[in-house]
Symmetry: C2
Subunit: 343 residues, 2 copies
Amino acid sequence: MTAAPVRVLIASALESEHVRRIAAVDPRIEVLHAPELLPAPRYAADHHGTPRNLTRDQREQWRSMLAAAQVSFDFDWSDAAQMPANCPELRWVQGTSSGIGEFLQLTGLGRSEVTFTTAAGIHAVPLAEFALTGLLYFVKDVPALTRWQAARRWERYTTRQLAGMRVLVIGLGHVGRKVADVLSAAGVEVWGVGRDGRADRGSLACATGISSLDDVLPSVDGVVLCCPQTPETEGLLSGPRIRLLPKGAIVVNISRGQVIDEPALIAALADGHLGGACLDVATVEPLPEDSPLWAMPSVLISPHSASTVASENAAITDLFCDNLQRWLGGEQLLNVYSRDKGY
Amino acid sequence: MTAAPVRVLIASALESEHVRRIAAVDPRIEVLHAPELLPAPRYAADHHGTPRNLTRDQREQWRSMLAAAQVSFDFDWSDAAQMPANCPELRWVQGTSSGIGEFLQLTGLGRSEVTFTTAAGIHAVPLAEFALTGLLYFVKDVPALTRWQAARRWERYTTRQLAGMRVLVIGLGHVGRKVADVLSAAGVEVWGVGRDGRADRGSLACATGISSLDDVLPSVDGVVLCCPQTPETEGLLSGPRIRLLPKGAIVVNISRGQVIDEPALIAALADGHLGGACLDVATVEPLPEDSPLWAMPSVLISPHSASTVASENAAITDLFCDNLQRWLGGEQLLNVYSRDKGY
């Protein structure tokens, strides 16, 4: 069989074992991979990394790879916004992040003709585990345990039980559904609100549309934010809505910082209205050094890393290989970014 | 219907709503309850509490209640060992703890004719949640998160994933089975070792007898100790066995401190062989102020409270009411302490 090659650019750091798996998907695939030109990862599955100082020849080599690419694994680290101009053959970019809507807006790539697929779903299990960790951290009062431990104080106390609590999951995409599954398996009564009141309840005890949010907030012990950042979700958990939650409620944010009114969150933590907040994201990242959140005992901050597990690249490669087969077979790709929905 | 009354002594602090439920089980039941004579609870569901200074009259009143009791909810706080002498009518004590074997040995009550039932199972859900909390605490490297937070440092990192890990549950009673269920629901591959290689695998991926312990330790990412303390389980997780675990393994102890060789555990944490230890129990309790465990960053200490949740007394009362009905109906009680097995 002779067929035109499909040139696949590897545009962010990826272990050679995974690159080999991509090359092995189909004989038509020609992988363009020059690891020495890519930013150096600072940790496993780092898709940003530290850019290298390329020589003039190396810059030229990178430009020629961009020019040849028809498919790209991740965005051009050196100038994503210019990909449509620098990559005339480019028809599809497989992203390595779940949420690329804001990035496509900022770079203007959303206005191009290129197809974008997200890594949505890849991060669902680690994010769901992080949400569970955050809830248990406060339900079991781990901050008190570590304080007492530092003081060498042994005093029996009464904890709470997660099983039987009611937790609201906001956003019912891949991540929200997985969070619901994991919490439900731990005995939590999970309520969900999505873009619309979807019929498929899955592991949810109760599912409603986002318009019912104000009605359900007073009835839940905790909230896990899993929605994408879109114009509709910015500021979704507003100050008044935080106050609708019962005293002592726990907030977990694995969405984007912009989805919560951060000053209102800080106020509700400071005056004890909220029992705890576990935040993988912040309105400004890195979280500014003078943010009051750092020093609050009822806050657990994770540096936007909850989705990043050591096995992440293996999972993204699985998805990309699946999508490559679909692409070559003319089938519908998984996780296509919708310009209408913004995710 | 006229029938002889069954006098039920309430021997540790119990909320009046629960006492009323006990009284309502059957018209024959006559509850002996004088809350002002009982130790004052220091926290919800505290079954020890601070003993009160009773007047001479009050001491006499307590003695007459003991003398009349046929059934007792919990042990006599003032002199458990003398219950057979002070309670000539006593035929059954419902304990409020899961593990009463050592207590019955120490007090000599195990040699009496009285029937003892434990609260085994009541604590299974909170203990399983605590085991899950302990595993996630180290898998997600929460100690690093809190260190970075204290330093106002935002730096992305790679965490691990609990789902897909292999965890060994030692002890397959109520608690061990519930731990297995909860971990398995979170995607953990749970192996179990019990007294014998029980046929009923339940949520276990693999179940073997305690004699295979040395064979399985090298293959697991973590261990949760759930066994009762008996002569056979003392020192079960010995120094050599700790070294059989792979480097970085996590140990959770929700059994009794005596089940682990504590100096060997400390050494394996100090030299980094173990990745973390989450300990609800210690060989000597309260954990002595000079124990190295207090200051170890890879240790999370809970003051023997993991089983104590606010809803505990409601659950123990449910069990006691069920058992009272069985007692009145001449049926087999739940959770009867076996003098042969020691639990």
